[in-house]
Symmetry: C2
Subunit: 120 residues, 2 copies
């Protein structure tokens, strides 16, 4: 397993909310075809696996290239500091693995196009 | 002014996060063309205008049809209960106004397509 995609969500005390993120990761996996050999959800807090656990699992499964996608709408403390800190810690522990932290969802200009169709 | 779109966000203590939502509403307004005569952001908590304030303002400006879009990723307590309660309260106060509360963003299946392009 070479390439992994981790969808990072905040995490909730409500299991159903965390399950929604896991289901989203499954749907992304189905669309991603062969581009990623693993797509899974992980959580900043309140739920497992943590970001760190998910990275370690992916590496344990043979990932050498990990893309991390923050499933957040707003660039708060979590997106600006907390997530980069965890990724940086893992990157220093595994310098041979490529880790690519993407901009958060809310940053995407295409989101406007999507919302435009939803409110039609 | 007949038709208004209100983008409902959670609201943050950080002004920049609230400003992001207002900027999003402006971009949606630019795309929406003539479909909505007003597009604006409102907040469930921690920021203003509140949902109720935004509805009252829209009605004061002549809106007779108000679409409400919850800019939330996860169907938690806020999406399931808090937002519908406020909208219901306003609807009972203004029975002559059409109020259409849409599913929240995270419910959109097209979100998977968008994320698929973002992680490419």
């Amino acid at each position: 397993m070479k390439k992994a995609l981790l969808v990072i969500a905040h995490g909730s005390r409500r299991n159903t909310a965390n399950d929604e993120v896991a289901a989203l990761a499954d749907r992304i996996a189905a669309k991603a075809g062969g581009r990623y050999q693993q797509v899974s959800a992980c959580f900043l807090e309140l739920a497992t696996p943590s970001i760190e656990q998910a990275i370690e699992t992916a590496i344990g499964n043979g990932a050498i290239d990990i893309t991390l996608f923050p499933y957040f709408l707003s660039a708060g403390q979590h997106v600006a500091n907390d997530i980069p800190e965890v990724v940086d810690l893992c990157q220093r522990r595994h310098p041979q693995v490529v880790m690519n932290l993407l901009p958060h969802l809310g940053q995407s200009l295409e989101l406007v196009d999507l919302i435009d169709t939803l409110v039609d």
